[in-house]
Symmetry: C2
Subunit: 409 residues, 2 copies
Amino acid sequence: MTSIVPRLPHPADFAAPPGAADLARWAESDEAARPARLARLRARFSAEGIDAYFGIRPEHVRYLTGFSLEDGEDRVAGNSGRFLISGDEVVVLADSRYRLQAGAQAPGARIEATTYDLGSIWPALVKGVGAKRVGVEGGFVSHQQWGELQKAAPDVELVPVAGWIEGDRATKEPAEIERIRAACAVADRALASIVRRIKPGVTERELALALEWEMRTGGADALAFGVACLTGPDAALPHGSPSEREVCRGQVLLFDFGAMVAGYRSDMTRTLFVGEPTARDLAIYEIVAAAQKASIELVAASARGDRPAANGREGDAAARQVIEAAGHGEYFGHGTGHGIGLATHELPSLSRTASEDPLPSPTVFSVEPGIYLDDETGVRIEDLVLYDTTARKLERLTCFPSEVLVVGV
Amino acid sequence: MTSIVPRLPHPADFAAPPGAADLARWAESDEAARPARLARLRARFSAEGIDAYFGIRPEHVRYLTGFSLEDGEDRVAGNSGRFLISGDEVVVLADSRYRLQAGAQAPGARIEATTYDLGSIWPALVKGVGAKRVGVEGGFVSHQQWGELQKAAPDVELVPVAGWIEGDRATKEPAEIERIRAACAVADRALASIVRRIKPGVTERELALALEWEMRTGGADALAFGVACLTGPDAALPHGSPSEREVCRGQVLLFDFGAMVAGYRSDMTRTLFVGEPTARDLAIYEIVAAAQKASIELVAASARGDRPAANGREGDAAARQVIEAAGHGEYFGHGTGHGIGLATHELPSLSRTASEDPLPSPTVFSVEPGIYLDDETGVRIEDLVLYDTTARKLERLTCFPSEVLVVGV
């Protein structure tokens, strides 16, 4: 049986927020790492016969050039932040609103003026870098824009490419791992700061806002994603939003949340018990905890070299088998885990359809099985782990206890 | 010369936040309006020879069905929230994480299970509604997904459609206008709540967070977008993010921010003066204020029927001419305004490339000229206006004063 946490955690149990020296060091690390990141991308050009890469994912322009948009800002940024990389040039597009910012954040890039009409500058843009065959992020460039680019420069061939930078980003640099670790600590501290405020009658929305506030005044640049705070039957909604529902004694209280620190994200789920747990909720918690443990033990053995290198399907299956064996397989509809970094969901994936290649290393991913009983209750336990086959270790980066924790009493 | 606001505004100067009765009324209004919204969409089918519409914009699924995702949630929601509308059916896709939520929020829709692999369900999905020629949001569906759908059901023709629902959404229903008005009031009150806290030495980031907090605890479901708080030379970045820069006497302080109320957004920019304005900043402010006034007067005359119906190019030109005449044309790089509603930027546009058709009515848009002097200063004044040719009126929905306002003294 899962042990019960003997006391409520305190913020001081967890690492302190990053300071200015950390931020400066990470900025330097990024700058130092960019030539290698670009080199990895360019190394793929010849095999595909392309001479440039056109990208639009905000994570990619940040990773390769330093230019960064806030979450969702790409929706209003037009073509600003889109980029073209040739064998020897890095071009970042910026309209008048973003010109100064792009110049400051991406000193290694040439900043080219753009408007909402990308087709109008496309021929000069590709000619400027001497490209005739351009790899394009076809999973993200819209059907319409693809057609506009083709029409604007019919002699320039567009080649859909997918997963290149995503694949590179799955393997983490030390300074990337430091930031994910720091983001985990910000989240740990934030939850520890609010657990004493959980009382019957407080609403999901109040708690979600309190948790957000603690992260954002406690070292986070931003949230990794909107805080989920779901109680009782709401916890059966794996992606529900906090409502005016009040916390009640005898129900679960699920928090799924993460911080962003210097661009890198954390992600953690804790399902707490408000007052004495019901037998049903406790039984489900035990199964989910056992499922998470099974998956973590499998990937830990793989990291240590005690078994053949694991892939994401095996990491998923280990957790899923436990839930299926307990008769709840149909109530665990999502995958067991996902990579995390500049994006909340990235490679590697732990799921039934994940790659059968061995997990990359070093990498960071979530392990987050759950069981959801419609209109009744839900339990998910999610931690981030650092998987490192060179260091032969698996390390849990989210440090808030995951044993049964009773609050609100 | 622009007058100086005689005293700092108080939160109580503005309308109170919406209550539960308002929220209930708006939910009812949406439900009542959906048949007409669907009918407008379906009325376009025959002219294009399509028998169904496949959409992926989160605003669209909310507008037509009620299913709503938080900002950015579509990035992790896979295909959940994508929808197919035929002549007599509304289908919303939801994976296991979203199934319950979709059922509750979109009672008029059939909820179909999906995975990340849309191609695998596409043939059955289109067959299920009897579609052979499907209009697809080609400006948003990726090049790759378009290809997957084509391949999955080669006998189903995909027809790119653009701007249909966007065009319908530009004309606002009364309950939509009420919500934008309420979102404006939440933002007005929030700024009024923090103006006394602006003192030399406080940072952009601290003020941005304080303003956000006031909105989110003062009636907003969420922010319309991340708060911009930019001081001194930072104000020359029209889309800059708040930094650790401290507010200084003798500099401008620009806030660009908005609230979301029941899904609808506001957007407002105020450029305040910290202590005695410099002659340069004041001169620029005067020009921007005159430019905004010129645009607003033009569209007001159009709304009243005192001149031919204005289009978005004319609305833009009126402001631009003032700035150009003052010799600052090159420092006003963006458009004069944009529609707003379920999205922060939507139709109609007020810009040099806007539609030459008359503005829709009733509609709500921003009027937000600006002048940005690199590394020196920036001024933008942005209000939302309700444009209604039937009521023959133009009404400013953002009520926080826009005259010169000195703070921090």
